[in-house]
Amino acid sequence: MVIRCEEVWLEISNYLEGEVDPALRASMEEHLRGCKHCIAVLDGTRNVVQLYGDERMMEVPLGFSHRLHRRLEDNMRGSRRSFLGWMVASAAAVITVGVVELASSTSSRIPEPRSEHAQPGVGIPPDMMVVVSEKGKIFHRPTCTFIHDRTNLRTIAAREAMQEGYVPCVRCMKQYLKI
């Protein structure tokens, strides 16, 4: 089936998502082989998805997490205080309880992760074969359409990839991520 540029553009997003049926996919690929404009649109669109999907584009202001937790703490403590105030008549008792509560809430908080960007996978089969690139930070399934640098790929087990500090691709490994 021969298709026009306009039809390719209309489906380019679905193509990148891997959501076009095999017949249309074959037609698109045939068109793409001979059309510089559509190749440019496809490459550029893939680059947009890749650049904006990078963790560095989701930076939060320094100290955001700390300030958020502090505000939550104030809020929780406020609710606790009003409850305790109803229970305990003496102001001294309220302060004592408040101090104990503060200490326990601080100790039970989970520590800051080493990297705010790190997204360890959950239940990734350790022997699953994945691909990584030397300069990248992410490991992918070999069939992932979001691998950009295909020239320097290495195939290793997921276990090794994680040991080397690679994190799972948010697209092809999504089922293992808590997002």
Binding site: W9, G44, L51, Y52, M57, R67, I179
Partner: protein
């Protein structure tokens, strides 16, 4: 009995989200920190996508998290906690934006029909994106500027899908629109961004790109 723990990549275990929510409702309020930890960046980014301002986004994000804590009893298990939290954040951010811009008319682009086809304006070749590119602050700023220049409905879908990595279905649920609308808006957002950015990547950022506030070339 349902499995109440999940295994992390490093082999350690932590309570499942469902268990955390139940225990928080039962009074273990400190577990709320653990519940929201994986979603903090997403909450901030969702607020920022609407408000485009760090201080306002942070304030809205904090307020949304406080609301989620206060109303955790109303959370229904059939929804995903992350979707529910993002919805609260978007509502909070949109409400603030409405208050801030009550006197400003919406850009014309927001009234365009979703179904209208989008034709790329530029066919600049843009094959290589060295990963180091994003280390450059000016590149990240240009990308942020380009994103800011999209109409709200395109930007929100793009941020949910391509930056938060929600599925098409989750994006639709979070924004309260159909999956067909998500796909159409996503396509347009991606193509518009490509049109804005491809010439810049192909040549010189500062001379080729101009994202004057309020100008939308499509």
């Amino acid at each position: 009995m349902p499995d109440e723990r999940s295994t992390l990549g490093d082999g350690s275990q932590q309570p499942s989200e469902e268990t955390l929510i139940r225990r928080i409702r039962d009074g273990e309020h400190d577990l709320f920190y653990q519940l929201i930890r994986p979603y903090e960046r997403r909450v901030y980014a969702a607020a920022f996508a609407v408000l485009h301002n760090e201080a306002d986004a942070e304030d809205a994000a904090q307020e949304a998290v406080l609301k989620a804590f206060k109303h955790i009893g109303q959370f229904r298990a059939e929804a995903k906690f992350s979707t529910w939290l993002t919805q609260i954040t978007l509502n909070e951010a949109r409400m603030r934006k409405r208050k801030q811009h009550a006197h400003i008319m919406e850009p014309i682009v927001d009234h365009q029909d979703d179904e209208g086809n989008y034709t790329p304006r530029d066919f600049a070749d843009w094959r290589e994106i060295p990963s180091e590119t994003l280390e450059r602050k000016e590149v990240r700023e240009k990308l942020a500027q380009a994103l800011d220049s999209l109409g709200d409905k395109y930007r929100e879908v793009f941020v949910m899908r391509d930056m938060h990595h929600l599925s098409i279905e989750e994006t639709a649920k979070t924004l309260g629109i159909s999956t067909a609308s998500v796909k159409t808006r996503l396509l347009r957002a991606r193509l518009m961004l490509r049109d804005l950015l491809a010439p810049g990547f192909d040549a010189n950022w500062t001379s080729r790109l101009s994202f004057a506030k309020g100008t939308k070339p499509w």
